[in-house]
């Protein structure tokens, strides 16, 4: 490489030019100003766009933000937040949901790296709303555009089983798809040790014959998913579609790695504590692992059994005059679809007051149950079957009988005595009626006896002046 001088003066008098510096400072400043301008303009443009997306998303559900300015979107910190947010129905302006504070923080690095939507934190404080059914049978908050349901008047039983079934059907669909993928991978043993397959390259319409290769998808999934790394939601109140003691007065929900589809080695936890209007605190803990195993614990230490008297809640147990409290504890685990669980209910002060609408079986059981005089009964039930269709594998009745043998004996004796007394009274009444009929018959057949009766009646008339 030549080391010649950069400038060769043409004349001896030519001035010596200072060698140029390596950095163009005006370019540096111009670039800095440009970035600064982008930084100033981006929030105005992109944030407004994101906000409009959110507002349009709500509008598609028939909802609107009461005060759109309360919602803040920050592009640089990848955050959506807000204070005193209220979501209302577009049609009537009724409040659907309100929250004191919202903070949704996107994990940009993870989202980029995993090709997912990774929400680092989703925190909602002071969430409140209403799921109460209106006079026309609709739950306005979730089905504002649905036609009125005249057959779903207040008090119509909520089909919890149907709701559970719908959720499980969705989960089953996903799980079956995942299993099919795993089976397909197993059937190709030579490929299991290799990386997942690269998708076929795409051809470029603007450049025929050129093709673009696609990245190898992350092991175990091919479609971006939404995952919440830390979930914290606390609320003030959430009335359920039908008024009952289970109406939620406050709740707290915490979770980690909350996602429908889990990544390899991921562990999802979800803990909920719910304060109800009349059923005390109910807690729920779910742990779910990517290998299709998990556990679910449920505790409701003070459920008033009178709540089950309502057809909307109790179903077949309704109208039985149930009284007492139940402390329910349930621990369940699942592997694949197979469920293995225990449900123990401690029933205290249990009594039944059947009426005309009470189920026949309950009416028959009422004397025995009432004869127990509200003593505490521990009722362990074994659950099994599958997650989609849980079944009771052991009703625990034998255990209840064994634990309460003496009391049940007394109760049965009492019931038998009562039954005997009832039968005795019935027989006596029947005998008396038969005797009366026989006497009447004899009197009608015998004219002498008839005369004596008539004479007696006349005597009585004379005596009382009638």
């Amino acid at each position: 490489m030549s080391t010649a001088e950069p400038i060769v003066p043409t004349e001896p008098t030519a001035k010596v030019v200072k060698p140029p510096g390596f950095i163009r400072w005006w370019g540096f400043i111009a670039l800095f100003v440009f970035i600064l301008l982008v930084a100033v303009i981006a929030p105005l443009v992109i944030q407004a766009w994101v906000k409009r997306k959110i507002v349009n998303g709500l509008a598609s559900q028939g909802w609107k933000l009461a005060d759109p300015d309360a919602l803040s979107v920050s592009v640089f910190s990848a955050r959506v937040g807000g204070e005193a947010l209220k979501v209302q129905l577009i049609t009537t302006g009724e409040d659907v949901v309100s929250m004191d504070r919202l903070n949704a923080q996107l994990a940009l690095g993870d989202s980029w790296h995993l090709n997912d939507i990774v929400i680092q934190e989703l925190a909602i404080e002071g969430l409140s709303g209403s799921l109460r059914r209106g006079p026309d049978g609709r739950v306005k908050a979730v089905e504002p555009d649905e036609p009125a349901k005249p057959d779903a008047k207040p008090g119509t039983p909520i089909d919890w089983q149907k709701l559970y079934q719908q959720g499980m059907d969705q989960y089953q669909k996903y799980s079956e798809k995942k299993k099919a993928e795993q089976e397909a991978a197993k059937n190709k043993p030579s490929e299991t040790t290799k990386k997942p397959e690269r998708p076929a390259p795409e051809f470029d319409v603007d450049w025929p014959k050129a093709q673009r290769y696609q990245p190898i998808p992350t092991e175990g999934r091919h479609i971006p998913r939404v995952v919440v790394r830390r979930l914290a939601v606390s609320g003030k109140g959430l009335p359920l579609p039908d008024e009952s003691v289970f109406d939620i007065t406050s709740f707290a929900l915490e979770g980690t790695n909350v996602a429908l589809r889990q990544d390899v080695g991921e562990r999802m936890t979800l803990n909920a504590k719910v304060q109800t209007k009349g059923a005390g605190e109910i807690s729920l803990a779910v742990v779910r692992k990517e290998d299709d195993t998990g556990s679910l614990s449920f505790q409701a230490p003070a459920v008033p059994l009178s709540a089950l008297d309502s057809p909307a809640i109790g179903g077949g147990l309704a109208n039985s005059g149930l009284a007492g409290t139940a402390a329910v504890v349930s621990d369940n685990t699942w592997t694949g679809w197979l469920l293995d669980g225990d449900l123990t209910a401690k029933l205290t002060g249990l009594t039944l007051t059947p009426n005309a609408n009470t189920d026949d079986h309950l009416r028959q059981a009422a004397p025995i149950i009432n004869a127990l005089k509200g003593r505490t009964i521990s009722w362990p039930v074994k659950l099994g079957g599958t997650l989609v269709k849980p079944t009771i594998t052991d009703s625990g009745l034998q255990r209840v009988i064994a634990d309460n043998q003496d009391a049940l004996k007394d109760a049965l004796k009492e019931a038998a005595k009562a039954k005997l007394e009832e039968e005795k009274q019935k027989a006596l009444k029947k005998g008396e009626e038969k005797l009366n009929d026989a006497v009447k018959d004899q009197i009608q057949k015998n004219p002498e006896a008839q005369k004596a009766v008539d004479a007696g009646k006349d005597a009585l008339k004379g005596l009382f002046g009638r």
């Binding site: 030549s2 010649a4 950069p6 060769v8 140029p20 370019g27 470029d204 290769y213």
Partner: protein, 176 residues
């Protein structure tokens, strides 16, 4: 065309200007590279590598006219090099596939066989053009410029010189 002419004139003036040869070298290098690299192909979005190079063009004290000239010229050149670029890209399909797994290179379209071929061509031509430019700048300043200046002075003094019809426009063109 007028713009191209202006750019070309600016470049040639640069040879006689105060721009240091290394500025011309870097300007040619970056301009050629930017010409061959995809910057913002429709349907793919901006290439991060190209954006970094553009930022470097403004931050480093390179000769801007040289950059724009070579960028324009090589952009035109790439239109006729699609075939060879595709041949090169196809022969490097393993590299393209591996680049697809590196987000930065994937976004810079190194996973696209056509653009990868052009990028490889860019990395071959850029140093070549830059060295040629550097050598020509030195040659012009050390040998050609003094001769042309002397001939121009002689012409102005009324002396008869060889090929005056050539010296005059060349001096005008170089801004001497």
């Amino acid at each position: 065309m007028f713009l191209l002419y202006r750019l070309l004139r600016n470049l040639i003036k640069a040879l006689a200007s105060d721009a240091a040869p290394w500025q011309l070298f870097l300007g040619t290098f970056l301009g050629t590279l930017l010409g061959f690299l995809p910057i913002f192909p429709l349907g793919y979005g901006p290439s991060p590598l190209a954006l970094i190079l553009i930022a470097l063009v403004f931050i480093l004290n390179v000769h801007l006219a040289t950059v724009f000239l070579f960028l324009g010229v090589t952009k035109l050149l790439t239109q006729v090099l699609h075939g060879p670029a595709l041949l090169i890209g196809d022969s490097l399909h393993d590299m393209a596939a591996n680049c697809a797994d590196i987000p930065f290179l994937n976004a810079s379209l190194w996973s696209h066989t056509g653009y990868l071929g052009l990028t490889v061509l860019g990395f071959c031509f850029a140093p070549l053009f830059a060295i040629l430019m550097y050598r020509f700048a030195l040659y012009f300043r050390l040998h050609l410029r003094d001769k042309l200046t002397a001939k121009m002075k002689a012409m102005r003094a009324g002396q008869i010189i060889d090929k005056p019809w050539l010296v005059r426009p060349v001096c005008w063109f170089f801004g001497l």
